[in-house]
Every structure is written in C-alpha cells, then in structure tokens.
Symmetry: C2
Subunit: 710 residues, 2 copies
C-alpha cells in the first residue's frame, strides 16, 4: 500500500483541487508507476483519459485514492474491490468525527471494505506519500520537490503531518514515508508503525498521536523496533484535560491517561518529545548517529560562550561531558595557540578565523579521547554562501568536511541556533559530507539525551536476558502464565493472604473473633501490636475508628479489641464485622506504595512510589504496564524524585533494591492473577525497615459485574 507500483485516483476531475493536487503530487514525486483515473462521468481529467469504472482498467492496481463524496463512496469501494484493488485511501470527512450517525456510516463502510477484501486508510484523511518510491495518495499540497531520506512519519492529524513535512524540508531532513491516518476506521497508527518496523527503507519512525487505539499491536511493534535498533520518536498530545476535550471534538479520539503513556514510553523504548521541532530534530539526530556507544559528549566551537552553553545544556539534560585525557590535552596544546586552554568544551578561539583547519585537527584529537562517544562541532552552515563571511565559512566547511570519524565516536555538526537549510546550503553540506543538525545547540543536546537513553535501552535488549528478568515487552506479548485466582480476595485479610501465595512478604496477621483470641495472638508476638478491624465492607479503617497502634500487654489488647468493635459498629452499622486482625507493630522505615490499576486503553498498569507525603503531596510515582521485570522495577525506583531515600537516609540502612524489585514483580503477578475483572490492587504501605520488606496492608477492588476489561 505505501510503496505502490500503480495508483488509481477515483473521482478524478479538473474541477477538484484535491484531485489536481493528488495528480500533481505524483508528478512532483517523480512517480514512475502507472497512474489511472476513474470518473463516473468519464472524459478527460488532468490531461489524461479517465475510466468510468476501475474494472475497465484491466491492469493490476496497488492502491486507490477515493476522492468521491460520501454518497458515492460505497459504490466506489465496490467498484475498486471488483477491479481487484486491495488498498484504498478515503479522503471524505463526515464520519465518526461528527457523531453517532457518522459512526454508523463509517462502520458500514468498513464492513463493505472488509467484505471486498480491501484494506482501508481513513476516512477523513490526507493519505500517504512515499518520498523514495514516488507513489502517493496525498490530497494536500506539496510545494517543493521531495527530500528523500530514511525517516518515516505517521500522524493522526493530516494538518500536523503537513507541518512536519514542511519543517523537515526547511531543515534539510529527508523523508521516506508520510502517512496521515485520519479516522482510523480500519488501518490505524499501530498498523502503520507495525509495517514501518519491517520496512527496510525506514531507519527512524516519527509519530504524532492523539490516542493509540490498538495498544496491543502498538506495544508489540514498539518492542520489535527497539530490538531491531529502529528508534521511534513520538509526540503525543493529551497532557491536559483540555487537550482530551479538544481531541475528542477533533477526530473522536480517546486520549488516555497521560502518565500511563509516559510509563509505556519508558517501558517500550519510545522517545517521547513535546514539540514538532523536537520530534523532527530528534529523528534527524537518530538518523545521523544511529546507536551510540556508552561514553560522553565532546564539544568544540569557535566561541567560548557557545561552549559554556553546551556545558549548561549537558548539565541540565544529564549528559556526561567528560574531562579530557592527558594525552588529548597534550595533543591539543600542540595544535592550539598558546592563549587557548584545552578543555571539554573546547574553545578554538578567534585563531580559527585565520586557520580553519583547527576544526579538523581538534576534532581528530577529541575523537581519539576514549571517554568521548559523541562529538559535536558547533558551526553554522550559512543559509546563503555570500557576503564577506564567505571565506571563513567556506574554509571551515572544507576543514570540517575533511574530518573522518573512526566510527566509534559519532560525529555531528550542530548550528548555534535553529537554522533553515537553503538549497544552497544543502549543496554545500552534501559536498562536504557533513552530518549537519541545524537544530541549534539546546535542542541538539536534548536530542542527544534521547539518543543516549534509547541506545542504552536498545543495548539492553541485545544482552542475553537473565533468567528472572525476561524482556518485558516480550513478557507482555505472551501474557503472564499465572492462572486466574479461583476465588477473588475481597477483604484486606483475604488480599494479604492471596499476596502471600505469590511470594509477597506480608506482615503476620491473626484474625481474632473475640478478646481472648486477640490476647492470645498478641502474646505470640514479641513486640507491641496493631489491631485493625476485619471487614469486607470497610476500605477506610482508620476513619471508621477501626485501627489501634502500638498496644502492649493483655489489658491494652483486650480493651483495644472492645474499642474497635464498638467504634466501628457505631460508625458503620451496616458493615459485616469478621473480628479484629492482630499484627506485630513495625518500627518506622521507608514506606512505599504499590498500586495496580486497570487502564481502559492499556490494560493493567502498576504504579510505584514512596508513601506518605511523597505520593500524596508530590504524586511521585512511576508507572508501567504489567507484567514488569525486576529490571523494569529497578528503573521505576530510579525515576522517583525521592530515589535517594532508598540509598539510606539520616542513618537508615539502604534498601535492598533487588529484593524490593522482586517483591514488586510478585505483586504485579498477583494482580494479573486476579483476572480481567480487577479494578485496582493497592499495597499501602509496603514497608522497608530493618532489612525487611513487608506489605502491611493491601486491598483489591473489582469492576461492577458486566464491565469486563477488553
């Protein structure tokens, strides 16, 4: 579909701007395949004879662009289906995005297409362009000849796809395939991404998304892309409630919980960005550098000020900028004038104006430094090579162009500020063979951060997985093997017992139905005890007067039992009271929160955070989809703002991260074992104290029957 050898434009007519644009685009792209036109009224269009029906063409056709209005769509679909066309792009709007009536119409169209064996892109859709192959069904304008490359774009908004396309062209970024998916009645974002992962002409995938519909296919494709070393960069809207509303009125898309999506990106190696600029420049950087080796960033520039900015950006983005090795410093001292002080970032000083070859010499020196795996030369390729600046620019371009990377350290030439690449500058860049990123220095370091993170994650998929930490995307795609619990735990007591069955360490608890049992249970514990009401009907025990802490001695326990039963009975007369749970009182330690929640789009997701004010005042949690591996959990812990508390704080011992990770993995397994009706499972707190990790409290809730998850 996206690399056709023949195209039919259905509804071709000189009176339609869309038709004219679609036809002209094929010419502008230099499409060498067959272009057929179909018009019900026959005659000429765009200087070419039309057919009244696709069945008259009598040749194989790879894809049809349907530019007919809604009224004629079903007929047109049947016609191309009968002609053996298996792929169609539908331009017309007026379907699901307009309400229930439109949705019914859309469903009918999908059913018709399916019955004819036709794959459908759209409706309400600008179509696709293949820059390398030249094939296109694109009803937007293309003002400029294509700049061919290896970055493919998928966008759920046609207008944004157009903006991305223009932006790429203006900044010398070559493209392979651009697809706008419109209403996604049949083919959706995930299908296109899935295709592009296997497309050899695509090295990087750039996405604009409003909502991911086929989340299962999407994450499988993302996992495959990571494994294959093909980066996916994604700009997804939906950070605010307002956006959710806007998206709903826009294409009827559901915009999911943004924080879950953040977790998905981290888990499956997607690079999430916040702007079209960051999207395209990150994709361009990935295209130019590929997978980065571990190591740091080396920067050289003709200005001390720009070097200082580079150091600031590296600091802000957490990119290592290692000090130079002694050998490198010695080399540089021999090259540079005496007033220069060699360092990373390296200031070539004004001396470079009279001796542009300093660029090449210094880059060679920096490249030889073993700590540097990415080398950035800050230099503006002028938009137009004229004026009296030209001698320096031309000389520098030549000098930089003579530099040869050794392949280990990746090399980039980055503009001072974001800069257009004109036709003339592109010629100069190509002539010098420069890996040029005209993003400006700030954006370049952001993109480098993405590349460093993604490269590390990609490398991790290449290492043999440890026995207990299989790659999580793989685990997701095969689903957890644990079978669903036969009887669902409902009370705290049942939930805690259930968790125990999955190897989750829980605080001992004994159910006492009378004072004597409570006293007996307490006497078996060698510390003060905690009493908690046991009832399947009470979620907030403290508020109901159902919790007493730190009781010591028979009298206190006896009296405590009575007080709890009386308080709760008076606060919640309808609740069924099973008795009181007796547990040993634990010393204070580091409280964690683990919660599993069913996300309507992504399925069960696990949230992990520090308890108390951390989660309540800072919402300091990390999210992932289930199941998670211990490696996932370790990474989640590292994302917490309060992460350093885990390393021991104010004299507390460091938490055993490996043990903690395993506990969280087991809680996740337990949650999956609760089956598709689970709404939420919370372990709060999970206490790390005295070298012990223990769930002190847990509760599971379920969806009202009939509302099963997908």
């Amino acid at each position: 579909m996206f690399d056709p050898a023949s195209v039919v434009l259905v509804g071709a007519t000189d009176r339609s701007t869309w038709s004219k644009m679609a036809f002209d685009n094929l010419e502008l792209l230099g499409f060498r395949g067959a272009v057929h036109l179909v018009s019900r009224s026959g005659g000429m269009a765009h200087g070419q004879q039309t057919f009244k029906s696709a069945t008259e063409i009598g040749k194989p056709i790879d894809v049809a662009l349907l530019m007919v209005p809604i009224a004629g769509l079903m007929d047109a679909l049947r016609d191309i289906g009968a002609a053996g066309v298996r792929n169609a792009v539908v331009l017309a709007g007026g379907f699901a995005e307009t309400g229930d009536e439109g949705r019914a119409l859309q469903d009918e169209m999908v059913a018709t297409a399916r019955s004819m064996g036709v794959r459908l892109l759209g409706p309400n859709c600008l179509g696709f362009i293949n820059f390398n192959g030249g094939g296109a069904c694109w009803t937007g304008s293309m003002r400029t000849p294509p700049l061919k490359g290896a970055i493919s774009i998928v966008s759920q908004s046609g207008a944004v796809a157009t903006v991305m396309k223009h932006f790429a062209h203006q900044h010398g970024i070559g493209l392979n395939v651009v697809v706008a998916t419109g209403n996604e009645a049949a083919l959706g974002l995930a299908d296109v991404v899935d295709y592009l992962v296997d497309d050899p002409a695509t090295r990087v995938i750039a996405i604009f998304a409003e909502a991911v519909r086929n989340t299962r296919l999407f994450r499988e494709a993302a996992g495959r892309a990571l494994l294959a070393g093909k980066p996916i960069v994604i700009l997804k809207v939906g950070r605010s409630e307002l956006t959710v509303q806007a998206a709903q009125s826009h294409t009827g898309a559901m915009v999911g919980d943004d924080r879950v999506f953040d977790g998905v990106c981290r888990q499956f190696g997607l690079v999430r960005v916040r702007s079209i600029e960051e999207l395209m420049f990150s994709a361009a950087l990935f295209d130019r550098t590929g997978v980065l080796a571990p190591g740091g960033l080396g920067v050289l520039s003709a200005s001390g000020g720009m070097g200082e900015l580079a150091a600031d950006y590296a600091h802000l983005e957490g990119v290592a900028m290692p000090p130079l090795a002694t050998a490198t410093l010695t080399q540089l001292r021999a090259i540079l004038p005496p007033m220069a002080s060699p360092a990373n970032p390296l200031d070539l000083t004004g001396a470079v104006v009279n001796n542009p070859d300093l660029f090449r010499l210094c880059m060679e020196a920096l490249q030889s430094d073993p700590a540097i795996s990415a080398l950035v030369c800050v230099f503006d390729v002028p938009t137009a090579l004229n004026g009296d600046w030209a001698p320096f620019a031309v000389g520098s371009l030549e000098a930089i162009g003579k530099f040869r990377t050794d392949g280990r350290a990746r090399f980039l030439v980055v503009s001072n500020t974001v800069k257009t690449v004109s036709d003339r500058s592109r010629e100069a860049i190509d002539a010098a063979g420069l890996p040029y990123l005209p993003s400006g220095l700030d954006m370049a370091v952001k993109a480098l951060r993405h590349a460093i993170d993604w490269s590390a994650r990609h490398r991790a998929t290449q290492a043999p997985a440890p026995a207990n930490a299989s790659s999580s995307w793989n685990a997701v795609s095969t689903r957890s093997a644990d079978s669903v619990a036969s009887a669902l735990p409902r009370s705290e007591r049942e939930t805690v017992e259930y968790l125990k069955g999955f190897g989750v360490p829980v605080v001992p608890q004994v159910l006492a139905v009378d004072e004597a049992q409570a006293v007996l249970a307490a006497s078996g514990m060698d510390s003060a005890v905690v009493l908690k009401i046991a009832s399947p009907d009470i979620a907030h025990k403290t508020e109901a007067g159902g919790v007493l802490l730190g009781l010591t001695g028979e009298a206190a326990v006896r009296e405590g039992f009575r007080r709890i039963m009386t308080s709760v009975a008076s606060a919640m007369p309808a609740a069924r009271l099973e008795g009181v749970l007796v547990s040993p009182m634990r010393r204070s330690g580091l409280e964690l929160f683990v919660g599993v929640r069913l996300d309507p789009q992504w399925g069960p997701a696990i949230a992990l955070g520090l308890g108390g004010v951390w989660i309540e005042a800072l919402a300091d949690v990390s999210l992932r989809l289930l199941p998670v591996s211990t490696a996932d959990v370790t990474e989640m812990l590292g994302e917490l703002r309060g992460a350093r508390l885990l390393k021991g704080f104010r004299g507390a011992a460091a938490v055993d991260i490996a043990a903690l990770s395993q506990v969280v993995v087991d809680i996740g397994r337990a949650a999956l074992g609760l089956g598709p009706t689970l709404d939420a499972l919370e372990v709060n707190p999970l206490l790390a104290a005295d070298g012990r990790i223990e769930a002190l409290d847990a509760l599971a809730t379920y969806q009202p029957s009939g509302e099963l998850s997908k």
Copy 2:
C-alpha cells in the same frame, strides 16, 4: 557613547580585516555622522585620508574605536584623550583573560583612561552597533542591512552577540543597540543595562551573561526597569560546575552560585531563559505585546492537532486557557460550519481554506470574550509566497491583517513551528501589519508564560506598597536601617536570644548550670522537655551526645543533665561547656529551614525550605537577596515543591502564611544586623505546629577575621 554623531577609527588601514569591517559596517548601517580615520603611518585607508593623530582632526568626536595592537594602546589612548574624545572601544585581546601579566596591563590601561577622562568599553571586545542611529564601533562582520527595532542586546561574549544578531535578522526581529562588553575592564554589563533602562529607543533588553560583576548597580537597574515596564530577558551560563570552569578560561569571569542568581531573577523581575532562541523570541514577544492584562490565553488554528498541542503547552507552562463564555460560543456557532465545535483552543477546520475570512471573524469573537487577555492565531507566513499554496496564504494573510485588536486582549500570530522570515515574507507581514512571532507554538507559549509572570510582577510595582512590604529592590538599594549588633552572638543560646530581639518567636529556653536548675526550669514547663548542651564550641550537638528529647519528671531531667554533661565531655574534651539548655518539647509539626549565607558576589542571601527530607533529599529551597519583604517570602513559599504541605496536610492545620512570612523577614533583618563578617545564620528547624511558629534552634557563624565581605 552608544548613539554617536561622530566616530574615529584609530589604527585604520586597508591591510586589517577588522578595520575594513568597522568602516564598512558604518556604511551598511547608513551612518550619517562623521567618520574620521587615524593611522600613525598616515596615508589613505578605505578610500579616505587618515590623520596621524586624533588631535589633528579638530572637530568634536563622540567615540573612538581603538584597533591598535597592545604595544601602541597607551599612546593611542593618550592621543584620543588629548583630542577630547571621552569614549573608547578597545578591540585588542591579551589582557586579564590571559593571566596575571595581562591583568596588570589591563589595570594600567584603565588607570590611563581614567586619568584622561575616557570611558572604556573592552578590551577584548567586538564593540557596539546602534541599528537606529547608525553609529557603530563593531569589528565583526555584518552580512545584512540592519532590521531596526526596539530590542537592545548586551552580551559578555562577542561571538554570542553575533549569533543573537544573526538570529534576530533571520526571524524578523528588529534591534536597537547591540553591545559586546568583552573583558569589562571599566564599563560592564551593569553599566550598559543601566544606560539602556533610560534609553527611550529601547523597549526590551536581552542579555547574554557569564557573570555579573557590579551586582549592586545591576540589581538597581533591574529594579528600575521593572518599575518602568521595560522587560529584561537574560540568558546566563553557569548552571554546572563545568560551565564555571569554561567561563573562567574564557574571559576570566567569575560565575556565581546559579541558584542565588535564580533567586535574583525572581526577586528583581528578570526573565531568565535557557537558550538564545528563547531569549530572542521572548524579547520579540515582549516587544509585540508589552504588559499583559490579567486573564487567559485564547488560541485559534486551522488544525485540531495544533490546537491540542497549544492546550498541552498551556498545561505544561501553567498558562490559563479559559473555557469560552456562552456569548462567545453563540457568536462562534453563527460563524463556523456546523461540523465545527467551538471551544478554546478553537479549530477553524478545513472550512477556512475556502473562507479565510473565518480567521478574522473568529478572532473578533474570541477577543470579545472577557476571560481572554492574549489571543494567538496559529498561522505560518510562508517563507516565499509562491507555489500553489499561495492563494490560501495570501487570503489568510489579508483576513488576519484586517483584524483589529481592541487593545485589551493582546494579539499575536504564531507560526506552527520555528520558521525563518525571508525578505519576501517580511514585506507581506509589514503590509498586513501582523504582530508575527515565528517561534513555533511551543516556544510561543513559553514566552507567553514569561510575559504573564513579568506583567504580574510589573503591576505589583505599580500598586501602592503596603507599609510593611516596601518593594524589595528599593529596600536593598537603601540597605537595612538596622544597626549592626554590638556583640556578635556565637552559641546557640546567644543566637536564639539575639533573634528574639528582632521579634522572631523562639522556643523558651533556660540555661541550667546544674541538675537543680535543670529540674527547676523543667518544672515550670507544662510538657515534656528537651535538654541540649550549651557550648560556643559545639555545632553538631546530637553527634556529641548533647541532646535528649521528651524527658518527663524530676528524675529523668536530673539523670538527663548528668548524661549530657558526661557524654559531651568525653566526646569533645576541649569544648567549653556552659551547661544545659532546657526547653519544652514541641509536638511534631511542619519543619522549615531558614538559612542566610553570604554570597561572594551578591551579598547576603536567604534560603527558605521545608525541613527534613525536603531540604536534604530534594534540595527544595527558594533563595532571595536580603532584605526581603513579606511579599517576597510568600512568593518563596509558593515556589517550594512541597508548598501544598503549608495548606494543611493529613489533618494538620494550614500554616499562617502571613505570620510565617513576617518571621522570615525578621530573621533576615536579624542576619543583616550581624554585619559584614557574618558567614551564615541558620534557623533549623523553624517549627510550624499547633498554630504557633517558633525557632527551635539557631546558629550563626562568621568569617575568619580579615576576610570581610565586599
């Protein structure tokens, strides 16, 4: 100096690129004043007769550009001084940036200039350009004719000034004055800013800074600018240790504590940015909108996707995007096609392609909405107005150009992504009278956030100041009236007593020199007590075994006194022990930290944060220079990540912010009262509990004698 009517170029020769550039620049700028040339060897240069000495010229000269090498500099200085020139720009490098020898040379030059009454810019400096006046002493290249405007640039790096200048030109941003300050041997950043605050041709000041030397003048100028409604946008390097090193090797600048500088920006209304792009686009937005009225952002675009992005950016930046009033919605429904659903952000839908007047009609409707004070229309002015897109672009430009703002709601046209403004597009923009910001949507919302914050702060300076909260910059410039303490407090006990004298509420404490006194003191307190060692020699009391908490009853106090005296005497045998401080034990509450520290560049700065893990694990503090007003402190509290804890948390009562702010102001006054030898004053914790705010512990430390602060 920066708007001269006559210029002399000293060291003019055809053999020097600098000389040629300086001369050509004056021509390119259309300078109408007199240009004189001085060359020791005489003869012609740049097609004009030179003088052998400036004294031969015989006409008044406003500024001299000295392009002579170091060896001839003193003579040249004396020559122009003798000729009555009162301003000079020194190009040559090789001074303080090269080490001690160069610094001595620089000092000698400054002394010579001073003796001749000559104001000096540089050395090691590209000079200045006045785009409106046409005067310039600029030894860099200017490739393009000037784009005149009201933004003035000051940069401590000549190369960065050049990058800023080019960037401005490429994006249609007009400039007034550009100054590169070089080594700042005499005139510095603060002097230039101080001048620009009063320059009527400057509406916005954009700064690139490595280090602020004259901090007192700088903050006074910043205060005056805020009061006058003249925004200052600043890009300052020094966020990382690495940058500090780079800057030191670059121009010998000291880069101060970055967090203190952040506080300075907040306190004096400076807009701090992280990139050259953000600097120039923020300045451009300020230039186009001026002071914003309170209210929210309205966005309209021809693409739902861009509207969604706008909503995301507003959410991320904390910019209000209010829902539209019913009357606005009604108006919009009458204008838009039925498939559009009016909302903020507003999607004009594809209908705008055939009816560009929708732009104007919808902007008029949005402008009438009382909740909207800034209106953004997302639209790309094409770089070249050709190709088949032109009809829509031209029609839209016309329609948008017809829109007239009512002045209340500020109006901006913003490009989808960052975009170059070509000469042709500038003509179209000027013809349509568009307030165009080609920054792209993401950057535009960031810049709007700056404008909203700055406008609120500017408005606050216009309101009559309450009696107890005089504008803090003013207070700083007049310095605190409190006189310096006669005897400096050294121990905790003395410090706490000293704070009490400034109205700071402190926990009662009684010094007991024996057990009996301790018991007596404790018996007068109606709660458990805390015992702490009293010694001028012990800063870390707990570590020395000098603190006991929660003691009740005579026996416990008696035993406690003995234990403390014994433990401390054994842990720190050399310490002078005055006895034990007895205080009532306070219930746990919200712990705050207040610390005053002498910053070597900015003077005494106050840090405020939540105590415990907040400050230790998150470094969650806000900083300001002293003195602070209650308004400053209230703002500082709002900046804390844990700010919501102040509003009451987990059943705790909300903290009285007004009372807390006054306490912090008083601690600041007390710190200033400790005079110039103060190194640090810490109150930790300041406890807010049970509706009471109290300092529980305090300590002052001083600089070793002889190291007085500036």
